[in-house]
Symmetry: D2
Subunit: 149 residues, 4 copies
């Protein structure tokens, strides 16, 4: 069982809504930031992959909101890769505020040939690099997602 990659960020004022808490959609932007940082750590700058003609598109995204986070809170986002298919990847996010998980998320990305805009196999060097954060976790729900990739 791998340890997750963790990225820490601080909640910005403009990301919070009149309820005083992070607006729900902004967590998906946080997931994207955390994945970019996992990339830097495991694979290299995301832009290098793009320059090599490989990109990713989001196929599915979900979040479960368990509690609020406020302006200026430090949030730790744990990311695990839970599936590496032929052309797609599932990641699982867990957003912690102090010791409490406030949001759980999941994303499915599909690798594409940036020029042709068609899905493409995950390059071998990326697969190897991502295995560092791969956790072979299988729930009924994830299995359902997996069939589509």
């Amino acid at each position: 069982m791998s340890a997750p990659f963790t990225h820490v960020l601080r909640v910005r004022y403009g990301e919070c809504d009149p309820q005083g808490v992070v607006f729900n959609a902004n967590y998906f932007a946080y997931f994207d930031v955390a994945l970019t940082e996992l990339w830097r750590d495991a694979v290299g700058p995301y832009t290098e992959m793009m320059e090599a003609g490989v990109d990713m598109v989001v196929a599915e995204a979900r979040a479960r909101y368990l509690g609020p986070a406020w302006f200026d809170d430090e949030l730790a986002i744990d990311v695990l890769v839970t599936r590496l298919g032929t052309t797609s990847m599932i990641t699982k996010m867990s957003v912690r505020r102090a010791e409490t998980v406030v949001v759980e998320g999941e994303m499915r990305h599909v690798f594409i040939d940036a020029a042709a805009k068609r899905k493409t196999e995950i390059p071998a060097y990326i697969r190897r690099a991502l295995e560092r954060y791969l956790a072979a976790e299988e729930s009924a729900e994830e299995a359902a997602w997996s069939t589509s990739a």
Copy 2:
């Protein structure tokens, strides 16, 4: 089977990313806008409900991305209420670009007492108003969500 509520909006430049398409997180902001407009149509201005001490928080959100949408595209967002529990509501969104569905989404909201920040029963007048867009649709996946509310 009810007809969905439909809200049409236009993609803003700043909502698109370097791939030229709507950034994935922004669809969740669109869902929120569409729900606000459904409210205006079925219940009344959302702010009136808030002034009456009732609010909602998002408990779950998900999206499946089927195709891209670009800057200046007109998107039609169909919304159906697929479950009205005691304290929670599930809505289903379908985002169309021309005749093509580009994104499907789902949200689960929980009604709260705005002052106490505790969940509260859906007020009867809101329940009645929302029934207009209620579609009694049950899939395995939705059933799973429903149990938690």
Copy 3:
């Protein structure tokens, strides 16, 4: 003296901050939306100009905040073109909530050759089209801006 172009939009929940009002940065996104709509009205879809190889970049932007606007408010944004230089354009925005001006803004855009990313003369057909909303207004401050374009 020309009448301004007016675009009406509604404040979204996620655009408001913990003070309950539109977050200051979001007005600049509103200005951009209003300008896109002025374009549609006067010139044609902005995307058509882009396809013809012409684009604009923002060189300066400013806003003066006179009062708040809240979630679900309808805002009317008046736009006037206050200067059409050789390669640049200055526009003036006025955001009204009911009959009250809540924000005044100004932007200076520079036309660029989209491929070469270099500034280019405003195409004649665009200049003619924009003259419809041109108000020959000159203040000391604007004159200062104008010298740089």
Copy 4:
């Protein structure tokens, strides 16, 4: 002449637009982040001031865009306080990408009594704390702004 406070942040994918560069409005969100961090450094967490019943609202904001910044760029934002009036403060921002200044900005904030929503004198302890980053800089343009506060 004081040295500025510097905050470094990394450009997020969703903050960039179809031109591939940071969308103009997002720099105003960056200014806000940098100011929050200056606060933490000089005064203490911004939330503490809010809890003490003091808040700020933005009265004016402007930016001059000198060059682009791209996804994943590290940007250094230098902030100086250029005026501390009785109830208002002017700050000057300079956004650097590597050694190049890409955006210059300026903001005028007004201190308010958070409950009464009326402007209030800058508390003495905050004034003293901010003097650390105060640069007595006066241009014709700033002088014009200053008169209004």
